[in-house]
């Protein structure tokens, strides 16, 4: 979706402000939001792309008006409400009012280290050969899906070059909507600064994105 999360090149100005000796979290509620989000992935059953969409799919003023972990909180709440794991009246009451929905498994303390260490690879076998090779010229498609995509707006319609073939990976555009993993070949595609930003661009600038084959046309 063409949402406020897709920030590349947008004039969201102000300097970048590094914080000296920044703590990992800035408040207790951030710690708990982070941990609840990670822990609920297991009983919740959603995937990474669904959780990204639940965070980004909101009006620009809302997305830009929330802090990072407020967005995580809103995303988590939506995912749980959508699946009937919790209900709105429970949030209002601040306690459980209805029986728990049966879940396959939960993340227990003894399992945390192993689950984090395992992570969730996204590379998958695919029977079809890669459509592009290193050095191929490609053009990012000018597409504007209403649902989740990982093709940023600032490259759409622009000419780039394949720099790496990264294997076949879960396709977020399908996975986010529950349409399945639908693995597709993934490439590092590199664009010249001037191709994206015009003649005023830094002549020494190149930008690389990782793009799935359905995002690209031969050029």
């Amino acid at each position: 979706m063409d949402g406020a999360h897709d920030m590349g090149g947008v004039a969201l100005s102000g300097p970048v402000e590094p914080e000296p000796n920044e703590p990992v979290f800035h408040a207790e509620w951030e710690r708990r939001t982070f941990a609840l989000t990670l822990a609920m992935g297991m009983p919740g059953g959603w995937n990474l792309d669904m959780s990204r969409f639940a965070r980004e799919d909101r009006p620009p003023e809302e997305y830009l008006g929330m802090s990072y972990y407020q967005i995580w909180l809103a995303g988590l709440q939506r995912l749980m409400l959508e699946r009937g794991l919790i209900a709105s009246d429970e949030i209002q009451a601040a306690r459980s009012l209805h029986p728990a929905k049966p879940v396959a498994k939960i993340l227990t303390a003894d399992n945390v280290a192993a689950v984090l260490q395992r992570g969730g690879r996204t590379d998958r076998d695919t029977p079809s050969p890669a459509g592009f090779g290193v050095g191929d010229r490609v053009r990012a498609k000018n597409i504007h899906p209403a649902t989740h995509t990982r093709l940023p707006r600032y490259v759409r319609g622009h000419l780039g070059r394949v720099d790496r073939v990264l294997g076949s990976h879960v396709f977020p555009d399908s996975n986010a909507t529950g349409a399945g993993e639908n693995p597709q070949w993934l490439y590092t595609v590199t664009f010249n600064g001037a191709e994206l930003w015009g003649e005023a661009s830094d002549p020494n600038l190149k930008i690389s994105i990782d793009a799935w084959e359905p995002y690209l046309d031969p050029a």
Binding site: L64, L107, Y154, L196
Partner: protein, 208 residues
């Protein structure tokens, strides 16, 4: 959200509303048996005390000290980084990109906050902020100026936008004047920002 003023400023009442919401959710989820409170504590402890940029600094220091390791790291980062035991969530697919006198690399995630957790921990606020996510791909020299340094004119800049599940780590250049230093000592020169590409390693005389 608190909602009666529209200037996006997070005042205390708004934050406390968020705090109450998080407490309510944790209570509900615990009562329903969906979460194990001890697991929550362990998740927080892991990223506050165990997994952070010192991991990445050790990787970089070894690459500086050991040419064979450097070659392995640049050829296939995941197994090379796994030699330290660093692996897993948000580091399932890793690529290391090396700075040279002619090329400076910078990593961003314009769409959200993708970041190589096993080697850098959780991202700082600025990395997730609108100014960085919007500016890095268009004006990386402006970003570097915000961080207080400049590259020589004519240096190529490559910005890596983490749009898929590949996570990028920058291998900064080894500072001069560190010949014969141990990996341990070298690792003290490696800053988090130098591994994102928004900073440089500490110079040897900059260490206390």
């Amino acid at each position: 959200m608190g909602g009666h003023d529209h200037d996006h400023h997070h005042d205390h009442s708004e934050l406390s509303e968020t705090e109450l919401r998080v407490r309510a959710l944790e209570t509900i989820l615990t009562e329903k048996g969906y979460v194990d409170p001890a697991a929550l504590d362990l998740l927080i402890e892991t990223y506050e005390t165990k997994v952070g940029p010192r991991n990445g600094a050790r990787v970089v220091a070894r690459a500086w000290a050991d040419p064979d390791y450097r070659a392995r790291l640049l050829a296939d980062a995941k197994p090379a980084i796994a030699e330290f035991g660093y692996a897993g969530r948000q580091g399932e697919h890793l690529v290391v990109v090396a700075n040279t006198p002619a090329l400076h690399n910078m990593v961003v995630c314009t769409l959200c906050s993708c970041y190589p957790w096993p080697v850098l921990g959780l991202p700082p606020v600025w990395y997730k902020s609108a100014p960085y996510r919007s500016k890095a791909v268009k004006d990386p020299r402006g970003v570097l100026a915000d961080f207080g340094f400049a590259l020589p004119a004519g240096t190529d800049i490559r910005v890596w936008d983490s749009t898929a599940e590949i996570r990028y780590l920058v291998l900064p250049m080894r500072p001069v004047g560190t010949d014969g230093w141990s990996e341990e000592r070298l690792s003290e020169l490696v800053t988090r920002d130098s591994m994102i590409g928004t900073g440089l390693p500490i110079l040897p005389h900059g260490l206390a």
